[in-house]
């Protein structure tokens, strides 16, 4: 592992790897922050639905020889607003509608790919991720967008908390919760498109769900859950990328595996009596 680390960070020819890792770290950070809200709001399925829509747009963009991000972003953002509407509207069965949209996009994507380039390694990369998928202009656009997502999250952190914890109360005190739900959906859509090719369309939603779930095993305040899941996400991504490099596994798959390991670790730790001792220390520390 250490050798691989040296190779990636010291060899000049590996600049593309370093850029890709930078994008990956930023995307994991965004996904983890948004994930806390999405999981608590029971919106996890939206992330999953969006990644499938993303796969469809990626296939179409490749067929048209267009830059993937420019086609994917508007379509996925649109899909995000639609999914949000569906899950807020109790008349339509939300989960069924999301499943239909997911599978339809997948079907369109696969059909377009087989008609144009044929099923090849590209398809495998789309689905399960590759660190080599991004070119230089993609990387700079991704970095810029990730910074915007992070900035928006920090700026609207308090509002996102209020809307996540109690939407009725937030609305009653004049917080336009609809707008913040849309903001959340918008930022999620962008994060998914950015991370999709590196993590794979089938696996990107785990980047949103796992870190939040892991840190909720141990942390008890919204702030600590948010910070903890950001750290977990970045660390897991980093280890996952190295693993993927050393053992030639698709990046998405190895990152998800590391996330599963982290989740199990946190879960086991939450069962230990250590937890209540930790609580007491925390209470004592804050009371001093």
């Amino acid at each position: 592992m250490l050798e691989a680390l040296g190779e990636i960070f010291l060899t000049p020819e590996y600049a593309f790897m370093r850029r890709a890792i930078l994008v990956g770290v930023l995307v994991s950070l965004c996904a983890a922050l948004l994930g806390v809200s999405l999981v608590l709001k029971r919106y996890s399925m939206i992330g999953d639905g969006l990644s499938h829509v993303g796969f469809g747009t990626l296939a179409i963009a490749t067929a048209m020889n267009a830059a993937p991000l420019t086609i994917s972003i508007p379509v996925v953002v649109l899909a995000a607003f639609m999914l949000l509407r569906i899950s807020e509207n109790s008349k339509i069965k939300g989960d069924a509608a999301i499943a239909i949209i997911s599978t339809s996009s997948l079907a369109v994507g696969v059909a377009v790919i087989s008609l144009t380039t044929g099923m090849n390694t590209d398809v495998c990369n789309y689905m399960f991720g590759s660190i080599l998928a991004m070119n230089k202009s993609d990387v700079s656009l991704s970095i810029a967008l990730a910074v915007v997502v992070l900035g928006m999250f920090i700026l609207f952190y308090n509002k996102i908390f209020a809307v996540t914890f109690d939407e009725n109360f937030a609305r009653a005190t004049g917080v336009p919760s609809g707008i913040y739900n849309m903001l959340l959906a918008f930022l999620t859509a962008i994060t998914i498109v950015l991370g999709m090719r590196m993590m794979g369309a089938m696996l990107i939603s785990s980047l949103i769900i796992f870190p939040a779930l892991s840190s909720m095993r141990l942390c008890k305040t919204f702030r600590s859950v948010t910070i903890c899941s950001a750290i977990v996400s970045v660390v897991c991504f980093f280890i996952g990328v190295l693993l993927s490099y050393v053992h030639v596994i698709p990046t998405g798959a190895s990152v998800v595996l590391i996330n599963i390991a982290a989740f199990l670790l946190f879960w086991a730790a939450s069962l230990l009596p250590l937890r209540s001792i930790g609580d007491k220390i925390q209470i004592w520390r804050k009371s001093v």
Binding site: L40, K41, R42, I154, L155, F156, Y157, N158, K159, F161, A162, F165, D166, N168, F169, A170, R171, A172, T173, G174, V175, M216, C219, K220, T221, F222, R223, S224, V225, Q282, I283, K286
Partner: protein, 247 residues
């Protein structure tokens, strides 16, 4: 028995509803509402399930627009100056948040577009935590508190949003009798000492009659509105109170 020095004394009208009605999917939820809430009142909205109580609450909070009639606000009551204590949702039961985070979020409505809380906001949150005696729970996780403690936290949050009017939606449902009595006394104290007007929706007619100054009885229409003393002797009151006692 609590005697209120309301009668005969002109006080400011905070809310006035005129011929108000609400509809859902073409049907009428509740209609013919004509009542006023004065500053310092403690109004209890009673009625059976599905009598239009929750619809009225949504209307007062501006979350649902009336089908007809109007709600007039007075006494300098702003749009976002109603402290609301909603019924708890399932998602909140396993929500990781500290008591302080929840209470502080009550200040958000007054922040407008500004992203972060000011020192004043934090001071107000602390003040209300002291008032409701939950300061020692400050760093505890909300989901690990008892039902009564959770209601105190949500009450403190509601108090952060207002100095004028509290709207409580079934605040004692699911609480044991001891905690219920404690919460009622707390609300009474807030009403009398802090001078906050209270509108409470409740199933518990006996406590409503005990603590409130005014009663609004709904059954798709307004069966009764007026002072508590008059309600006890009204036909609607005798029937509802009697029904509760001998059922």
């Amino acid at each position: 028995m609590i005697k209120r020095e309301y009668k005969g004394q002109e006080s400011e009208v905070l809310l006035a509803c005129k011929d108000l009605s609400f509809a859902y999917d073409g049907g009428t939820a509740v209609s013919g509402l004509n009542f006023e809430v004065h500053k310092g009142d403690y109004l209890c909205v009673v009625g059976e399930n599905g009598s239009g109580k929750s619809t009225l609450i949504k209307g007062l909070l501006n979350l649902k627009s009336p089908a007809s009639g109007s709600i007039i606000r007075g006494g300098g009551l702003g749009l976002n100056e109603i402290g609301y204590l909603p019924q708890q949702t399932a998602a909140q039961k396993d929500f990781p948040a500290s008591v302080y985070e929840v209470v502080l979020s009550g200040r958000l409505g007054s922040r407008g577009i500004l992203p972060f809380y000011s020192l004043k906001d934090r001071a107000i949150a602390q003040e209300n935590m002291d008032l409701l005696d939950i300061t020692r729970l400050r760093h505890r996780c909300y989901r690990e508190l008892s039902g009564g403690q959770q209601q105190r936290v949500l009450l403190a949050r509601a108090m952060c949003a207002t100095k004028k009017l509290l709207l409580l939606d079934e605040p004692v449902s699911g609480l044991d009798p001891l905690v219920t009595a404690e919460l009622y006394r707390l609300i009474e104290r807030i009403n009398r000492e802090a001078g906050v007007t209270v509108i409470m929706v409740s199933h518990d007619i006996n406590s409503a009659v005990k603590y409130a100054s005014h009663i609004l009885h709904l059954k798709h229409v307004q069966l009764f509105f007026g002072a508590k003393e008059d309600y006890i002797n009204s036909s609607a009151g005798i029937q509802f109170l009697g029904g509760e006692q001998y059922a």
